[in-house]
Amino acid sequence: MAWTMLSGRGAHEVHAGRERATRPAPREEDPALAAEGFAEEALPWLDAVHGFALRLTGGDRDAAEDLVQDTFLRAHRFWHTYKRGSNAKSWLFTICRNTYLHGKEKAINRYERPAADFDARMETLAAVSAWGTGPERPDREFFDRLIGDEVIEAIDDLPEEFREVLVLSDMGDLKYAEIAEVLDVPVGTVKSRLSRARRILQERLRSFAESSGYVQERGE
């Protein structure tokens, strides 16, 4: 096993954790609602929920807007069940996902994504070592070379169970326990799905970057 030590301690600057979005401030144009606290606690998360809805629906803007509206109308209707000062963001994401799933049940294929070749793709990916833990030296500037909507397209193309956990974590900034609550699965499942989702996403971005000539192909 290779082990390359630096001569001095603390030569690399290392930080645990990452920055997570704090609750945005309420906006002036927010309506004066009778539901106490709804404007202050729920509405600031509208954009975040919209972002989540866009990815849940695979980028279908009309479906996402319907989903956002349904989510907030339902949240408003059941606002009396929300414990003020708890986690409105997780609560809203949960409602959004449940509404999305309910919509799928009601109207088959309304939000469904094609995943017929998923098994074949998973087998291919399983044979590839995890990017970032392989022998190559990854280059952080790789991300600066990606332009356009590659990452969004790659996320939208992920199977749903991977897409939702990745979006909740890496775009929605939810913690593992919060994601577990939204998805109603154990934390261990969140961790394994998230690890796999990131691996698939990064592998796809790399393939795209290689085929586009942004980075050199492996083995060259």
Binding site: H50, G51, V68
Partner: protein, 87 residues
């Protein structure tokens, strides 16, 4: 071995915990072990740095609220209607 004298974890252990370290989900003792490893390991640090860049990229490309002006306006109208008993 130098790393054993320094009480270091191995590269495999550090990399196995990398996501949880970056997600801020490790207990203090484990977090400190990974941090100490990354601070001095020239093999693992680039992988850590790359994954940090991934998170920065994801934050930059998050489509929060894109084109949501009409969504907001329509939603606010419906919320007010709902409160007025229209739904």
């Amino acid at each position: 071995m130098i790393r054993e004298k320094m009480g270091m974890i191995r590269c495999e252990e550090a990399m196995a915990r990398l996501w949880e370290f970056l997600d801020g989900e490790l207990e203090d003792v484990e977090e400190e072990a990974v941090r100490k490893h990354l601070e001095v390991c020239n093999r693992c640090y680039p992988k850590y740095d790359f994954q940090r860049a991934y998170f920065e990229y994801m934050q930059r490309t998050s489509p929060r609220g894109e084109g949501s002006v009409d969504v907001r306006r329509e939603l606010f109208q419906k919320l007010l209607e709902q409160e007025a008993g229209g739904d």
